[in-house]
Subunit: 331 residues, 2 copies
């Protein structure tokens, strides 16, 4: 019987997660039963939203259970198939969690065409983060050519896609990130302006005004963006990484009344409500990725045993672009 | 030459306005020139938004100028007309300010049909506050039959219209206000639930969940409403009377991240952007007012010299329904 290593949550983190909140566990994997496939993962996805699921709190997805495998995105190859819909050798993106081998009855498996590009992009620019950027910017934020878009967390998987798609749509783009190296990369990507939020107050960087704020960080950055938004501006509420490790309720934006005086719209969304947009997104963005109009970077950590460290590093801003854990062979 | 008394702002209030921030001034009124009309006001409108204009701050309307007449809504009769569009004896709603007599070239005058109801309603349930309720609830909040609507400041001119229109549209309605007398009136109006926010924490009163929050007060009530909103809930950001006298930036809602997890939309609006909806509003709501389906109350202060006290009373919650100052004869 094959063996698989997997990551369990064993302690709910208080504040920033610690390595001891996680455990590496080795388990037997039964043979694929009728209708099932066995998947060998190549990459696992490390995403900020997972921090919320580590708390025992009601949210849009239920909390992770202690002593069970962490669920999250992964891409892998079907190595055994007893399901007519999936051939052996096919690549699939799935949400079966932080493990080397995964059994599935086929539900929720998305085929990924390995000829179209590196399979890791199925977890990044051509996967959930890319769709998040696309839907948030265009459907929720309704960014229009000629408008100014500001995105925080701009060197992450979502933020870097937001900025590049906005540029391709004719917007002026401002991005913020947490290091000089990240800022340099944003400028390479064609952002009109980029700043390190440790060095430049967001209020100064946004003093000429913005029309859309794509919020990945929350906190004082959101307050500065509310002040900078022009009349009929929009806030795309996507994430609040500055607050995910907060151990008490963080201060809210003190200037929310500007929503009235400037007729602002602040709207949150969850990408899983918008999977119907995947074909339109791939139809428009995949060619841009192929021809280099949309670029991406990956920060790859090797080995499932290092997944907790990768996750802690993500929350600390150590990644540029998509944070991945490589757990098996790629094509 | 006729004489008119008017109210000037002479000191910008710090916190709650004081009577000494205002002055009563008597002036000569020239004769109506060619194209002009002279209006004798019957009622002046006292509105919460005027507090913001007393600060020297950038907002959607410019600040009041010191030493000049306060501008605000009023309804009056044309007593002299040298303008073909307005007959002598006609009633008009206008924004020419806190004065007994007003000269106008006709710009911005809205005719009011005195046969349709008391002229005071042109400043309340059939005027700007009623349109605010209608547009906010239906166009911004998109309240639907079967949904639960919560409105704060519910015994005010806007709030009482919001609740009654929502009931007529098939919603369940919860209202909050600041006294037992106001709460009793809300129940008379058919609100499903009403509570005194001094007595009952909003979080307790809203524990079964809401779909739309029509926000007139801001502050901790907004935070409680964010917590109570269901998935895809909406906040209609209309006002924040709890904060208008704040002398420093008030605390913001600490739970704004719920906008993401619950896919909330928080949207501000200004009624003057929506005057194109006036015919639709009057066509639907005026019959309801005539047949008693929509009721209203007025708190009327007599005499222009008492307008500052009326305004201070409004900010302190002394009014039930529309706060008006009677300054001249009505039909």
């Amino acid at each position: 019987m094959p063996r698989s290593r997997e990551i369990h949550l064993v302690v709910r983190p208080h504040g920033m997660p610690q390595p001891t909140d996680f455990a590496l566990v080795e388990v037997d994997v039964p043979e694929a039963a009728d209708g099932e496939v066995l998947i060998r993962n190549a990459f696992m996805s490390v995403d900020p939203y997972m921090r919320g699921r580590m708390n025992d709190a009601k949210s849009y997805v239920p909390p992770f259970q202690l002593g069970e495998v962490l669920t999250g995105g992964a891409v892998g190859q079907v190595v055994t198939s007893r399901n007519d819909r999936f051939e052996e050798g096919a690549w699939v993106v799935h949400n079966l969690g932080w493990r080397e081998l995964a059994l599935s009855d086929g539900a929720g498996l998305l085929p990924f065409d390995a000829a179209a590009g590196p399979v890791s992009t199925g977890l990044g620019v051509l996967g959930m983060p890319g769709l998040t950027a696309y839907v948030g910017l265009l459907d929720v934020g309704r960014a229009e050519a000629g408008e100014t878009v500001y995105v925080s967390g701009a060197a992450g998987a979502v933020g870097s896609a937001v900025g590049q798609i906005a540029k391709l749509k004719g917007c002026r783009v401002i991005g913020s990130a947490g290091s000089a190296e990240k800022v340099a990369w944003l400028k390479e990507l064609g952002f009109d302006e980029a700043f390190d939020y440790h060095e430049v107050p967001a209020g100064d960087a946004l003093s000429e005004g913005i029309d859309v704020y794509f919020d990945n960080v929350g906190g004082s950055t959101l307050e500065a963006a509310l002040a900078a938004l022009r009349v009929r501006g929009r806030v795309v509420a996507c994430g609040a990484i500055s607050q995910y490790n907060a151990t008490e309720l963080p201060a809210g934006p003190r200037n929310l009344f500007l929503a009235v005086t400037k007729r602002l719209r602040i709207e949150g969304f969850i990408v899983s409500d918008h999977f119907d947009r995947m074909p339109g997104f791939l139809g428009e963005v995949a060619p841009w990725v192929r021809d280099g109009s949309v670029r991406y970077r990956e920060t790859v950590v090797e080995g499932i045993e290092n997944a907790p460290a990768a996750f802690i590093g993500l929350l600390g801003g150590e990644n540029i672009g998509k944070m991945l854990v490589k757990v098996g062979p790629e094509p």
